[in-house]
């Protein structure tokens, strides 16, 4: 399943999605009746104030959270009612996550970090190394493959994380404030890289950010406030 086959139809369809967290029996409405569509191959910025529900939305799209209400269709498949195993398989095959805090294993070297998703899809080790090396080369870190994350700068760590998100050849990359911890130069490098990946392999990318300047890299920007699109 790639974005190409489905061009025409929207790749992502979010229908009336609401998400309530239950804290001390009082529901927190993180998302209320959110609806939008994304075409395959789009690069979209998601912006909004802190606590507006951006991360929640990303987690729902990535199959880490099940919405309280509504329907999410990704690549023609309803992902809002998956079993735990189906959600794991969906995350493994369709989604690549990029986190603000990189979330690299400190005791794995770069190539082992990148290859991690392939382990859970049962790819044999030699193939894994080959593909991880390709992904690292794609983010411009082919020569740093044996470095531990402690030996990399913040920007480099995030590039390794992007390589990890790419390695399973997903159709959807979800980046939650990927540049939140980076300076201006590193931010530009990351955004250029994401844009390049987006245009190069027509991967749909959703980037959550607080940085207004980043919207210039995106095809369009979705704004969200108090759990509602604006």
């Amino acid at each position: 399943m790639t974005g190409d086959e489905l061009s025409g139809d929207p790749f992502i369809r979010v229908d009336d999605v609401a998400m309530d967290y239950r804290v001390a029996n009082a529901p927190v409405h993180a998302l209320r009746r959110v609806a939008f569509t994304v075409t395959a191959g789009e690069l979209i910025c998601i912006m909004g104030p802190s606590g507006s529900g951006k991360t929640t939305l990303i987690h729902i799209l990535g199959g880490l959270l099940t919405p309280t209400q509504g329907r999410v269709v990704v690549g023609g498949r309803d992902i809002s009612h998956l079993t735990d195993n189906e959600a794991s398989a969906y995350r493994n095959s369709t989604v690549g996550f990029v986190f603000q805090l990189f979330q690299l294993m400190p005791y794995y070297d770069a190539i082992e970090n990148v290859a991690l998703p392939l382990i859970f899809s049962g790819v044999p080790a030699p193939v894994r190394r080959e593909r991880a090396r390709e992904a690292l080369t794609a983010v411009g870190l082919g020569h740093r493959h044996s470095h531990k994350s402690g030996e990399l700068s913040g920007g480099e760590m995030q590039r390794v994380a992007i390589a990890r998100a790419l390695v399973n050849r997903p159709c959807l990359i979800l980046a939650d404030e990927p540049t939140g911890n980076l300076d201006r130069d590193a931010t530009r490098t990351i955004m250029v890289l994401l844009k390049q990946i987006n245009t190069g392999s027509r991967v749909t990318i959703l980037v959550v950010t607080h940085n207004e300047a980043l919207s210039e890299y995106a095809h369009r920007t979705i704004r969200i406030e108090s759990g509602e699109l604006v």
Partner: protein, 498 residues
Amino acid sequence: MIRRSDLLWIASKKLLVRKRWVLFTVFSLSLGLVIFTASVGLIEGIRAAALTALDQASRSFYADLTVEPKQERPRSSRPSGSVVALIHNASQTGQRLSADDEKKLERVDGVDAVWSETQVEPVKLGLPLETYHSMDRLTAAPESLIRRIAAPNVPWPARGVVPLVMSRAHLRSQFDETAKRFKVRPDFSDARYLGRTIDLWIGFNQSQNRDFRYDYSEGQPGFRRTTEKERDDEQVSSYRNWRSRFDLNIFRRALRLKAQIVGLSDLKVLVPLPFARDARRWIALRNRLAQKARGQPSGGESSGDAVSKLLVAVREPAAIPAVVGRIEKLGYRVHSRQSLIQEEIDKAATAFKTVKAIFYGIGLTIFALSCLLVWTTTSKVVADSRREIGVFRAVGATRRDILSIFILQATLLGTAGALLGVLLGVGLAAGISTAVLRWASQQRLDPDDAIPATLWSVDLTTTLLIVAGAILASVLAGLIPARRAARMDPVTALTQRE
């Protein structure tokens, strides 16, 4: 689905990061198994060695049967339960056998001879000088029994010469001048001594062997041959005392007789019963003389002839079970060679069972603690790995994958601990056994004292069961924290900040 080799890779990689924790856990885990394996191995080994020793000791049992009074239940005259009461009762119930019993037993069909154990001491056996001869005691046996033990090709000695069954142990040792130890004669053979005539001193009262000294002064204590001068000095000193201590001189006068070695046995030196009685009478007479010379009142004759056990020789060894039955019917307790060994073995078996149970208890307790340790270690690793679990889940790990990773970790810990424990335990048992045996072989004076080859043994089935049990237990101990890890919500795990 994750591959098995990758599962192992992830699990061991996580363990390698926590080296100190892992080493601590594995080592603690092995500790219980070390104690367990070593003690069980040693107990089994000592048991086997003890049985061999018992078997060997049974050869010194020279009569066919031992007869004892039927033991009655002790009538307690004091409050029972206290140690004092037990000793008191034991001394009270010591029933004894009299001459009447001896006559009664003699009349039993198949019985050859009945006698009580008589020993003659002090004596000196004038063996060829190259052997160690501190033998100072003879044991009496009926002539018929001595004839049975005697070698067939040795002629029975003429009148006036004492037929004697010599103990092999005393002939086999030889003083090694360089090692300063007694060793087994390399050229020992029964034939060399059978039929030989030797000197026998009855009443030769010399507690110390004049030919050898035990020397503590040199760096390495041990026996050495006395020098000419030392032997002379001793002569001079006894000569000097001759006038002032006349009594001692009488006491020193021994009866010198000829004896002929008609047979060889283990441990005991046997002479015919009538001769032994005469020899004892002579020694007693001489002692009374010595006491009189000293001006001491002569002690009364030993009271009564009652004994605690009688020895029985059976005419036909094949008839022993039948004779045992007949004697038991008369109301005595009978031990045959076999029953005596069996009794000892049973006693030993019970003792070993108890000791083993205690060590099993200790082992199991430590084992339970080890499981607790595996549980806490895995729990700690799980708690430390929340973000990792979150990342694994985000990139597609299923709950099963996470569960497998943590169970495998516990299994690795358990396996490493079990293997290390068993290896160290076996090593420890072997080490202790070697050290003890080396010490024992250095301490023994009589080289004929059998020293077992090892004091430890390993039962493969038990060992495998221990290892399997340890691994199973660690899997079970790891199960609870592993389930906790698998059920962790990926989003919560991911947003965990350390």
